[in-house]
């Protein structure tokens, strides 16, 4: 006999874990399927954990969650060829009992989350790839087929948390393949190093952490960003650009990462560290306009598979956890009310999302992806001109300051023209408002 569950969750990342935990906590019969050898085996994140969303699901997560460092300083750097200009925000107020952001090593978090799920009775099976959704004559999703023998499993509702590739939704015709300008490819490495060196180089103590978000010449004019994060005994460094830009074939992603590691500003920070793993992953970057259909008869899609990523603020895992939780809450409410899981009732999931920061934030920045994609000057000309302006301004060479101001302005006008500069300012405002 084929086994039947209240809900099947596909994938053991932040969205799938949030959904499974929330369902199991309310005593629903839930099955979570993960294709990796263990939870986290297929998952890649920068990574920063935003505490607030996890706290909503597991209030006392700080008791045993294996975080790395709590972030007390955020740096944002614009890199030129051999220089950088940047802004830092550091606050002692971040040294609290309940920090807001932590650096993490993703596999550790996923394993921990899975243990929490099992502890409250959630059933999780790894090493199982879902090959297709099972649908009845009316098209309603009623279960999944897996690559295990006799691998058919039925459920009232299926929550797809299978990540950015979202193969199941695409194969079933619920989603189209992502356009190359709507996804980024990011590569990263984890570099192990003496914690004392981390503390010295970044000016921190104990479990304090620093994160650096990077833009500029390192992406070679492509639309993209880079990062360097401090973990307890390691650093993670990565870089990502839109696939539509990589597609032009000018630079392999690993070469771009190597050039970042050798940048004169970055190199001294990572010197002597030992590389232990190299990862690659796609990131949904299309924002609000790229969000696919989120629910239908017997199914919902959450997390990266639903394109929930706020590129402007580098938030993804919190949107993932929020969407997983809201999908689960929808199931719990419908079940309690004795209602079916047809599209009409599952629309509640979208309503919850619309009312939350998930959709509100993505909507706010809806013009950003398109504007960035078609205005490469933000990633080429401006990093050049801004760092050169800083170089000129801070070099003391007996040139009077008014002449320096004029030279800097002239350089910008030469590169972008007056209309270009005004246009760019308008575009930035449109992208951010």
């Amino acid at each position: 006999m084929v086994e039947k569950f209240d809900a099947i969750v596909i994938g053991a990342g932040p969205s799938g874990n949030a959904a499974t935990y929330t369902l199991a906590k309310q005593g629903l019969k839930v099955l979570q399927l993960e294709r990796g050898e263990y939870p986290g085996a297929k998952n890649v994140q920068g990574g920063i954990l935003y505490a607030h969303e996890l706290e909503k699901i597991i209030p006392d997560f700080r008791d045993d969650c294996p975080t790395e460092r709590h972030i007390i300083e955020q740096r944002i750097w614009l890199l030129g060829d051999d220089n950088y200009i940047g802004t830092n925000y550091r606050s002692e107020a971040y040294n609290t009992d309940a920090p807001n952001r932590y650096t993490i090593i993703r596999a550790n978090i996923d394993k921990w989350f899975s243990e929490k799920i099992r502890a409250i009775g959630g059933l999780q099976i790894c090493e199982t790839t879902v090959t297709e959704l099972i649908r009845d004559a009316s098209g309603k999703v009623i279960g999944v087929r897996t690559d295990r023998e006799g691998g058919e499993i039925l459920a009232d509702v299926v929550i797809m948390a299978d990540g950015v590739n979202a193969l199941l939704a695409k194969r079933t015709g619920f989603q189209k393949e992502a356009a190359p300008e709507n996804v980024a490819l990011a590569v990263k490495e984890i570099l192990f190093i003496d914690p004392e060196l981390i503390q010295q180089r970044f000016g921190i103590k104990d479990d304090e952490g620093v994160v650096i978000e990077i833009m500029g010449k390192v992406t070679k004019g492509m639309v993209g960003t880079a990062f360097l994060y401090t973990n307890k005994e390691s650093l993670t460094i990565g870089i990502g650009c839109l696939i539509s830009d990589f597609k032009k074939g000018e630079c392999p992603p690993y070469k771009m990462l190597e050039d970042l590691k050798n940048h004169p500003v970055i190199k001294p920070l990572i010197e002597g560290a030992e590389m232990k793993e190299y990862c690659a992953h796609m990131i949904p970057e299309g924002g609000f306009k790229a969000i696919p259909q989120l629910y239908g008869d017997g199914w919902m899609v959450v997390g990266d598979a639903a394109h929930f990523n706020n590129a402007a603020h580098r938030e993804g895992s919190n949107l993932a956890m929020a969407s997983g939780r809201m999908a689960a809450e929808t199931v719990i409410e419908l079940k309690a009310a004795g209602k079916d899981f047809g599209a009409g009732n599952l629309a509640t999931y979208k309503k919850k999302l619309d009312e939350s920061f998930v959709i509100k934030d993505l909507k706010k920045y809806r013009e950003l992806p398109g504007i960035m994609h078609s205005n490469k000057q933000f990633f080429g000309a401006y990093p050049d001109e801004i760092t050169q302006a800083a170089h000129n301004w801070f070099t003391v060479d007996s040139v009077d300051k008014r002449t320096k101001e004029k030279d800097i302005l002239k350089a910008f006008v030469k590169r972008r023209s007056v209309f270009g500069l005004v246009g760019d300012a308008i575009k930035l405002v449109r992208a951010m408002r």
Binding site: R35, E37, I105, N165, E258
Partner: protein
């Protein structure tokens, strides 16, 4: 600065559980690759799985694949890449991710 980057040295650090003789990605029509002028897959793949061969076509070796999906996205218009997840438990197994 302008050194050659050996992707093999990076991949060497990773843990893979290889599903022998069952590649999860397949080039459907080799002639299409031979005629492709950009061969973007040979540059974009972060694991260097795609390389140009002597016959002017593209050779795919999936053993180092990181399962990112980039090749499928860049080659979607042709539909020449058949892209599946590996069987459960196989493929890249990130220790840190």
């Amino acid at each position: 600065m302008n050194m050659m980057v050996k992707i093999e040295e990076k991949l060497y650090q990773n843990r893979y559980i290889v599903d022998e003789n069952r590649p999860h990605i397949r080039i459907k029509d080799e002639a299409h690759c031979a005629a492709c002028t950009s061969k973007a897959c040979t540059v974009c793949c972060p694991a260097g799985c795609y390389s140009t061969n002597e016959a002017g076509g593209v050779t795919l070796a999936t053993d180092g694949c990181l399962e990112c999906g980039t090749c499928r996205v860049i080659c979607q218009d042709s539909g020449n890449i058949e892209w599946d997840y590996p069987r459960g438990g196989y493929g890249i197994s990130y220790k840190f991710g």
